[in-house]
């Protein structure tokens, strides 16, 4: 059975336009939209396309040499009866009662990464007339930072347009950092600038600013001045200590694992400081050559990536639970598409978007281990499809954002999601 709104799939600009009418008609769904109260979201991004049969939706074993379709690894039981994950997720398996694997996420882009990345960040297709905001930007726009001192949206990964604010404007853009060794571009003082130099700079700047102090009635100038004040505050020692991971106990740092785990640890520290939305990229493509984009030989070391992810997610869930933050933090493990059960010429895998898995953890949701069912090789959805708009609606709803609400591109109404409906089972 297809999604009941699948007639809208592929409609590029339609849904933006739709808002006009949907506002004036009573949505049959409106009264029943469940709402959560989560403060934070950590969006873990597996760029390249994580193959569901090799990770969160294991099926019968395949054989890459004989080109027999199927999983690359064995499945193992989990804390949720009847739900299996691949053998390289032992820790996630133990914690699966605090998580739900959405196994029936689907869309229609496979041939080009950028377009699929765009779909899984904006929930929409490209129109050329409207530039849609990313999930992080929408959340930043709707909820702001949890605490004033913090930025609302931080990206640990490379800047790109699909992660941007679209028509919402650069105020809702991310601050980004590419690794845990450095703070975000713009907010971390260059390494060679010592405290004493920084003091000298700032006091000179303060003196010089006095000379031509702004006419306060010019709002534009006053706004810029106050942005400057804010930036000086945020790049000062108060906030920037958040990036000093060595303040954490060594045992905890070890529990989180390598660079990716450290990013997750940093994400936890950021949300403690009041950041609302953090995207953490697991983009360590050099581990196996191709990252999650396991064509050909790229698949040979895929298990290292999975184990890395297993360790980091488990540590993050544990850590948040201990700090009593798990219910207030939704963790999403997302990717641009899945991979087919068949093998390519080199024993790796191509792209598949008809069905793939996204993992939700924490967030005060009513978890069930796995939601939605795929066929015997995870090629097609059998029951409970989750469209991309539904996924986005679920995330928004868990954060208390009405997914049918309108945003405005100038005076053009654009609903937050493409008529997505939250997965009710997770809320009831």
């Amino acid at each position: 059975m297809l999604n009941r709104r699948s007639f809208l799939a592929g409609s590029s600009t339609f849904l933006a336009t739709h808002a006009l009418a949907s506002e004036s008609q009573k949505s049959p769904l409106a009264p029943s939209i469940p709402m959560g109260k989560v403060d934070h979201c950590i969006y873990i991004w597996l760029g390249g396309g994580m193959g569901q049969t090799d990770t969160l939706d294991p099926k019968r074993l395949g054989d890459p040499k004989k080109k027999v379709a199927g999983s690359y690894y064995k499945g193992i039981p989990t804390a949720v009866r009847g739900v299996q994950v691949c053998e390289h997720f032992p820790k996630v398996a133990d914690q699966l009662d605090r998580m739900t694997i959405l196994r029936t996420v689907n869309h229609d882009v496979i041939d080009e990464h950028a377009a699929a990345v765009n779909r899984m960040h904006t929930g929409r297709t490209v129109s050329g007339t409207v530039v849609y905001p990313s999930l992080g930007s929408v959340v930043a726009h709707q909820k702001g930072a949890v605490q004033d001192i913090a930025p609302a949206y931080v990206l640990i990964g490379y800047p790109n347009v699909t992660r941007g604010p679209g028509f919402l404007g650069s105020k809702y853009n991310y601050l980004y950092l590419t690794d845990t060794a450095s703070g975000p571009a713009g907010l971390s003082r260059p390494e060679m600038i010592t405290d004493s130099r920084q003091n000298r700079r700032e006091s000179l700047l303060a003196e010089l600013r006095k000379v031509r102090s702004v006419a306060s009635k010019d709002a534009k100038l006053a706004d810029y001045e106050s942005a400057l004040e804010q930036s000086l505050r945020l790049s000062g020692p108060g906030f920037s200590s958040v990036f000093q991971l060595d303040q954490e106990p060594a045992s905890l740092r070890e529990e989180y694992g390598g660079e990716f785990g450290q990013r997750c640890l940093l994400a936890r520290r950021l949300l403690e400081r009041g950041v609302r939305f953090i995207e953490v990229s697991h983009n360590l493509n050099f581990v196996n050559g191709t990252g999650w984009d396991v064509h050909n030989q790229g698949i040979l070391n895929q298990h290292i990536l999975i184990r890395d992810l297993d360790m980091a997610i488990a540590a993050l869930v544990n850590d948040l639970e201990k700090k009593k933050m798990l219910d207030r933090t939704l963790i999403v493990v997302s990717t641009e598409f899945g991979r087919p059960p068949e093998f390519d010429g080199g024993g790796g895998r191509g792209h598949q978007s008809t069905a793939f898995s996204v993992l939700l953890a924490g967030g005060g949701l009513k978890h069930c281990g796995a939601y939605g069912e795929t066929d015997e090789l995870a090629k097609k959805v059998v029951s409970n499809p989750v469209s991309v708009p539904d996924l986005f609606a679920t995330i928004h709803a868990s954060m208390g954002i009405d997914p049918s609400k309108n945003l405005y591109d100038n005076d053009r109404p654009v609903p937050i999601t493409d008529l997505g409906v939250p997965v009710k089972k997770l809320f009831s």
């Binding site: 592929g10 008609q25 990345v117 490209v126 409207v130 713009g186 000179l204 050559g289």
Partner: protein, 1229 residues
Amino acid sequence: MRFFLPLLIINLLLVSFTFAAEQVAFWHFGTEETSKLKAVGGVNRDQKGPRPPVYPDFDANNTAVRMDGGGARFVLEDTGANSKFDFTLGDSITLEAWVQVTELRSDENVYIIGKGRTYQKGFSKENQNWALRLRESDGNAKVSFLFFSKGEKDKPGNWHRWTSKEGFPVRSGWHHVAVSYTFGNSESVAGWLDGKKIAGVWDMGGATNRAPVVDDDSIWIGSSMGGSSSNSFRGYLDEIGVHRGILSDDVLKSRFRRVGQDPLANKPDALIPVAGIPKSGFKVDLHEGWSLVDGWPASNEELKSPLISYEVPYPLFHRIPVRYDAWGIRDSWQGTVVLRAAGEITLPMGEHMFLVRSKGASRIWLDGKLVAKTPPHARETGGHEQVQPVPASPAPGQRPTGYGDHETKFTVQSMGKPIQLVFESLVGGKKWRHEPGECCIAIKLQGENEFKVLPGKKGETPPALNDYEWEKAVEYLESKMLALDDQIRKKASQSQDAYWAMRKNASLDWAKNHTAPKVPQTGNWPVQNEVDQFLGARLDVLTQTAKGGQADEEFHGQVLPLLREQCFRCHAEKTRGGYRLNTREELLKAGDSGKAGVVPGDIAKSHLLDRIRPDASERMPPNGKGLDAKQVALLERWIKAGAKWPAEPVDVSQLKMAPTIDDMTFLRRAYLDTIGVPPTAQEIRIFVADLDPSKRARVIDKLLADPRYADHWISYWQDILAENPNILKPTLNNSGPFRFFLHEALKDDRPLDRMVTELIMMRGAMYQGGSAGFALAADNDVPMAAKAHIVGTAFLGLEMQCARCHDAPFHSISQKDLFQLSAMLDRKALVLPKSSTVPAGFFENKERESLIKASLKPNEKIEPMWPFKEIFSGDVPEAWLLQKDDNREKLAAMITSPENKRFARVMANRYWKKLMGAGLVEPAFDWENKNASHPELLEWLSHQLIASGFQPKQLIRIIMNSNAYQREALGSNLAAAPEKRYFLAPERRRMSAEQVVDTLFSASGRKIRVEEITFDADGRQSASVMLNLGVPRRAWEFTSLSNERDRPSLALPRNQAVIDVLEAFGWRGARQNPATDREESAHLLQPAILANGTLSTWIGRLTPQDGLTRLAIEAENPTQIADELYLQFLGRLPTEVERENVRKLLEPGFSARVNRQVAEPEIPETLPRLPRISWTNHLVEEATQVKLEMEKRAKTGDAPTRRLDANWRERMEDVVWAVFNLPEFVWVP
């Protein structure tokens, strides 16, 4: 056509054999031939075939066909079951052809002719009935026969391939090949080459006596497998025959007769002489259209005459000139370009070592003798190549070979006599961008220990092969190359000058025949030119009416704004439901319902009130939450009180012009608005000292003539035209890089009508900067609809955003209008795809009628037609159209015609807005139902534009010379309603992102130094997959780094540092949609990135040879430094307090700051070279490590100068930092 006479005689003699073989098909590929063959792809007829005297059996004008490969083929449909082309068990077949092979790569199997295996729908992929192919092995083309056997019980079908043992070399002229076979008898196979029977083996699948697969799949000549490139024949074909039966040995023997050697046969390298070798310097000839990347043209005919010839001072070829089309629009070079450079050199006596570097294959000849070659350009790979260590330097400290380039060394014994040198290099190819790499010839003279580029022209000093001198030389040669490009382009564009002179005359005639609005006179306001007269006259009127008018706080403060905001969209210019609510008179009229909108004093009878209550059945306004109780009460109160509509109150005391700005402020503003960078300290001083009262007008003229004008104004065009190139595979509505077309159009001062026409015609190269790049809209279901949307907003003030999928709710534009326009751009009818429509289900179960309408249905066909008769109802003269039926051309002419007044007005308003910060019409991209604040001024400006022959600089000149422009930036026009937009002052504008970046670089006296903008540094991918946008010199040249794959190994860290600043200040690297207005609101990241970003580390660092270091060394005292920094960065002198603050910090140690030990010019320190990372090797682990190191280096910035005491230098750096972090810095004064 071949002479068949000799054959006929043989046939008569050998009756029994010839009757055994029946001709099924024979193609001579003659000029007159008409056959059922359907050509697909690069199939070129009427090519030279085998001809006498070498092939005496052929006609003197015999023609053949050339196949370009890449799937190029002839297709012949099978006639069905049991067709004459079907061969099965027991059938005999003979296949023959004349072939001349241009390219055949290692292990390739290319098809001459075959039946089946086309990969067409409905057929198995394993259905080869028969095929004649050539197979490469051991460097030769071998004759090969192939079929697939039919499956039997327990025995699946299999491939069977017979390949001859003997073959012939590629590019050795014409050959005759043939095979014959009787299905069912594996022994029966025989092969023929040039009339000689040759032995062979069944080498794949083995021999079989089984039947072949037979079905109704087509016969293809020249390709197979859906057009697979590596199975497509590249070369010439003639005389292809298919026979049923076995042609006799004698017949096949007689098929080939050659007298002497084929003239095309491979010969040892031979030099095609170069005409006119100069005595001094090097002459370069560029020949395009060569088909190989690993072989050389053998004759003048193959080489073709050079398309461009030019001179270089010495043999360093960092790039080749841009190729332009007949209109002077960027095009791409065809095929492989053969670069041939020749010169005469005289070397001192002795034994010298030469070094040749080239990306493509190269050869060097001295006195006509071949002395060295380099191998061909390396082919594309998937990204997993090993990271190579940095190549060894040719001498200590010298620059190693460029990435992807090859080099060779050889020694030459010189007797001190002149030597004629010819150098040839193959640049790019059909699949590659035309980049020569770091191509050069260098020499190490006997007794010396470093290589220098070979000397050429007298008086020119070639660089030594070290980074410092190389980069300087490339910069110098680039300036010459740009001048050459300009010259070539201007010459080409002259072909259109006559046409545009005619168009200009038409514009001037129009201006003569249509009088401009009379310039009013005003005595009460400061006036510098006509602009001020118009603005003043409007104020005069306002002051007069204000005297009689009576203010009504509630009406103008609350009631009218409410009506305007909630109702006017549909009930002002438009008359939805028969109601208009924008004047009192209209308000009292009855609409479609028959009820009066408002009955003064009577709430019950006023239909307006029926409709706005929250519980109303078709509640108005239809979107949003509707009016709240307070708002309803307000309107009730107002109607009850008589619905009075008093005149607009004007507070005369507020009507004051802002004061005129001083010289320094004016100069900075004028520079930023024309060339995008502020004046230097020196320019400021000269201007201030100038006592000529006309100096402002003079400097405006000077700036408008400055070539940097293009570097500033291009950004605006990139924005409004959604120029959106991607350096990796086009996706997300990407266009091509038509920035280069725009920049050159601006640089050449092409008038607006010409530039817009050339854009709309979408000419030249899509990926190399032609206006054709505008045609691309990747991932878009109707690219031309995206373009029509852009054309509408940019040139006509028509916002058709909504019409992309449905009729616009608040505009009169229907989806059909947009698609008619799109069809004109597309030159054909368009079919509306389902994905651009509103599904029918959407309109079901609505409680009220939807505001949006879908008058077009999916799959409806929309014919090209001009939809906007109310904007322009005329036609364009036939003489204006080069192709009368070309709708695209017609559209361009309709838009740019002076009769279409909308175009000139929209353009005039755009220039006004850019310079004044607010438009006469707002928003500038959406004019529907909008009033101009000064309609006569707008009319007058657009008349001026037309009267100048659409020269935008004329508009800019007029506006900048007005007092209105030269007043303090205290304006609040942008937010004001048109009737309150007085332009008492221009708007305060923040510097654009590009201005911020360009100012940082220019004020600190340094150049932008970042990586080349490409992921394909070694030039191994095609331009359609990966662009190379070059090394930027100005901020507009950056682009989105498109790292959607999130791979650290694709990072370009120095680019990213600049882009971080650009993006914080509202620049969009990816311009998915057109935008007229940039975002200007302040946010945290703007000051933050200036304070802490990597770019500010660079700017605030005193490094060797940059401008601030020079200032620090040359200054006589700290005060002078303060003055210069303020002038350079802020365009004004510091106050005493500011000076004192700077002095306090720089005074200590000032006199001892310079370290005289360090030699001048100070050569920057360099870090160890890093291995080169490109797409080729970005997927191996080391690539990421290298990129992380590059990132670290970028963040650290360049090493500081050693000429200054470190402690003092750091204090000066802190001063620089503080100055550019002053909020004042980011504002246009």
